[in-house]
Symmetry: C2
DNA sequence: TCCTGCATAATTGTATACAATTATGCAGGA
DNA sequence: TCCTGCATAATTGTATACAATTATGCAGGA
């Protein structure tokens, strides 16, 4: 592996269009052109994908050397990861990967249940023709992949379905919130979808939500989205995957 | 003002008890003993209190000089403020105080309505005797100050009421979430409470919520807490204070 | 064996130098 | 007057030196 892999070299296609007006849209894009941004994304990816164990210590120099950057961008990325709740920094001591407890997962799903409901409600009121069409295509495609047993594609489509919903609710605050939670439980969710036969069932629920949104029934859409999350959680518990997590606060 | 005001000098009572086990509890405490932490808190305070205008640019050197620290802690604080949504950083350009739109405020209150409801529900299930007693005292005291027209104390007690509720729900995730939102609308809320006669009415609602929690009626507690937020929002709109905000996305 | 205390190493915290990027202001021309 | 282009200044990005703090390992003694 190249020691310089992340280092900026030569003429990257630096985003010149960045203006004050659309910062929030371009945020993630521009982020990737600074070392800090790339370290941040890399570490987040690695933590979520399970490369680092829970409670593992992340050392500035080690990470820096691995990615071919100095400590400064690493430190800044650490500060961000801390606020995202992915690591915990103890002053003068170190940065540790945050553990997710069983209870955390349950709490997140309960919170998400409410917020996905609100999102579906707002989406019903604000969704565009294009978004509706993409959702229909999404559900249709997912049906196909479910029959074929293509779990990878199913997971991808599931992600996309929720993404469209988040966009459609026209609230950048709620969207941001839901994305945060969504990625927070990603390590669990991915496994859940591929295991068991949640895939097809989940897609049926998507279809029902879509129908409610399409018919303009916000109450129903909210209720179905609420239940969709609860079902996802229930399924996860049944699959016993929650046992992957540490039992409690860890003593 | 001393240029060295924030600089660590001599023997601060450095928190030696910090352990991995209770990092999340001590987080805010330990934070205050690093320059970055103090810069972070200072800037957050200043932004929320309105010292900086919306869309005002924050410059690393200027802030650093003002607080008597170098750019490094300032930069790290910036990265955190960005993730808290208080400033926006445009790469190679600058950091700008985030504007809150009218719609943002409405969205936050709607989201909070749901989450405060969930919080009341969980608090009903988990609240301790001590917490119940402090809440009763809180409501009782607030009644007194409402009669006397002590708006400052009322605002303080209102904050505390919600704080106890957040603690009582025994979900550090939900607690964290609600605190974030709570402080996000702090600049609005403070003005709301002191204006109009929302203070007494708000306290009546607190009392009702408290009664529901005490009697173990989680459904009622949730419903009342939902409504409490909606009422707070309605009141704010009526007071016309939302006009303090920029009208829309700002073009 | 087990503990204590201290020297040393490792690690994080902060300041600062230099590089890269962006902003500013002015000369010169249409 | 208004625009363009360039030199220069201002500002952010990154690396690194040094300070402060914490971790480690071992000597010496109970």
């Amino acid at each position: 592996m190249s020691e310089q892999s992340l280092r900026r070299k030569g003429n990257h296609p630096v985003n010149k269009e960045t203006k004050v007006a659309d910062y929030d849209v371009k945020q993630e894009v521009t982020d990737k052109f600074s070392l800090r941004g790339r370290v941040f994304h890399k570490l987040r990816e690695d933590i979520l994908s399970g490369k680092y164990e829970e409670h593992e210590e992340l050392k500035e120099v080690a990470i820096g050397e691995e990615l071919g950057v100095s400590r400064t961008p690493v430190r800044e990325a650490f500060r961000q990861l801390e606020l995202e709740g992915l690591i915990q920094i103890i002053p003068n001591k170190g940065a540790y990967v945050t553990g997710i407890t069983e209870k955390d997962v349950r709490d997140i799903y309960m919170i998400r249940s409410l917020l996905e409901g609100l999102c579906a409600r707002w989406a019903t009121e604000h969704i565009t023709k294009e978004q509706l069409e993409e959702m229909e295509e999404n559900v249709y495609l997912a049906k196909f992949h479910a029959q074929k047993g293509h779990l990878e594609q199913l997971a991808e489509l599931d992600n996309r379905f929720h993404d469209i919903m988040y966009e459609a609710c026209s609230s950048k605050l709620l969207e941001h919130q839901l994305r945060d939670f969504h990625q927070y439980v990603l390590r669990v969710r991915r496994k859940t979808l591929s295991s068991a036969n949640r895939g097809p069932k989940s897609n049926e629920e998507h279809e029902q939500i879509l129908e409610a949104v399409k018919s303009g029934d916000a109450d129903l859409a909210e209720k179905l989205a609420n239940q969709h999350m609860i079902n996802a959680y229930e399924n996860m518990v049944q699959s016993g995957l929650h046992e992957l997590f540490q039992k409690d606060k860890q003593k």
